[in-house]
Point group: D2
Chain length 143, copies 4
């Protein structure tokens, strides 16, 4: 299966640690930024979405994981490939594959998010709005 | 002049960079956490403050600086000493001195914050509330 | 089963994001610092370990995960409980449970690390040194 | 005076804090990445430089500052302009101006770095190598 979105990056100094490689926690902001770039490519911004009733929604993470195969070093260039691997009524699962320029797999990650609406007492899970669901369906069917 | 608050820390792995030392940008969260601990020691929380009219206030940074004298390494213990060096109608200036356990100065920083109230269109600078000013005056006169 | 090490924390400002809660990636430095504190409690430092032949060793992460149940907010206090859930010839699996002061589970994480020795060409997986294995066995059998 | 290098960025989620804006400490990795991109534009990498005798050199920060004029929010695009404002025998001073797309100044920063060579006992300040000095002179005279 092809991926649904690609993003290139170059590792920066502040993402490295004393072991001389990109710190393992830095892969999660990488995945998050790839997800947000994917939404921008569809004309959406995650901080500006509303449900079918016009109420603001958000996407807190339910669970995340990352498997590390090869280190990434300062100024290494790599590509992150995003796959929308599962969409339920209220959740989306993304998978991310990190490749270097020789097409070697560096890392594999996953992120499950739940759609919530913001209500007075906090937030509550809610059905993914049609506009978002349709955008994602279009993006994933085209690939 | 003595300092007005002290905090001990130990450098953690994720704060280091590939040069094997604490990344220079990490000193700013260090200073910020020391400032917030200082407020907690006075019975205040920076996210729960109101002005004389009951409107929520905040403390955005106006300018900050840091001078680096000696490196801090993973698991090094050090002490941060906070000094309230200037209080005007709407601003507070903090200075921070970082010492190792042999009392050698590792770094010196400064942070100037402005008191703002949150209004519909964003935020607006405002007079420091009496309750906060009095707490700070008491803390700095005692030292 | 009881846990093998506990660490208390308080969430700081720089760990939060615009959703007003601790950013999901911050849970990984939390787990790493808990692991390093566990080693310090056993008299070890992860940057100062050698194998049975005196060669420097390290512990890169193989895979990590986190499940998020409740948000952590600025200045929230919480406890991280570390469990050594599996030790093989070359790898250690840690599980981490995050609890608030009402004993509610906030998050659950896992980290698998592999023991490597540093050689000229990079690093190579190696048998966990006896001194480390014995320390861990003692710590986990006592609990 | 014109600037000597420009870099565009977009603020990402993990750089924001609970005040809904980019955390003030994030401006320092921004400046550092701009400096490293400037060097790449000159054909240099800061982790791969040697002095006139072939010894590895580095550029620890001596002091840094930032003045904040307007907030940067998630997904805001901005430009960082780097100016080499002073070069001495062993130090370089950079100034950075952050602009939004309406050419409004968002922030102003400065970074002074010292050239050091890595020796057995740590590091020692040293004369900036001719190759680096010449590159910088060429870049700044052209602008």
């Amino acid at each position: 299966m092809g991926c649904h979105f690609k993003q290139r990056r170059k590792a920066v100094f502040s993402e490295t640690d004393l072991a001389g490689i990109v710190h393992f926690a830095s892969f999660f902001p990488y995945m998050e930024d790839c997800e947000h770039s994917f939404y921008r490519s569809l004309g959406h911004s995650v901080t500006n979405m509303v449900d079918n009733d016009g109420v603001n929604i958000g996407w807190p993470r339910v669970n995340v994981s990352c498997e590390y195969l090869k280190s990434i070093r300062f100024e290494d260039e790599f590509e992150i490939q995003l796959i929308v691997s599962d969409v339920t009524d209220k959740t989306i699962k993304y998978e991310f594959n990190f490749f270097d320029d020789d097409n070697r797999l560096l890392a594999k990650g996953s992120v499950v998010v739940v759609c919530v609406k913001f209500i007075e007492s906090g937030m509550k899970s809610t059905t993914i709005p049609d506009s978002i669901r349709n955008s994602i369906t279009n993006a994933t069917e085209q690939s």
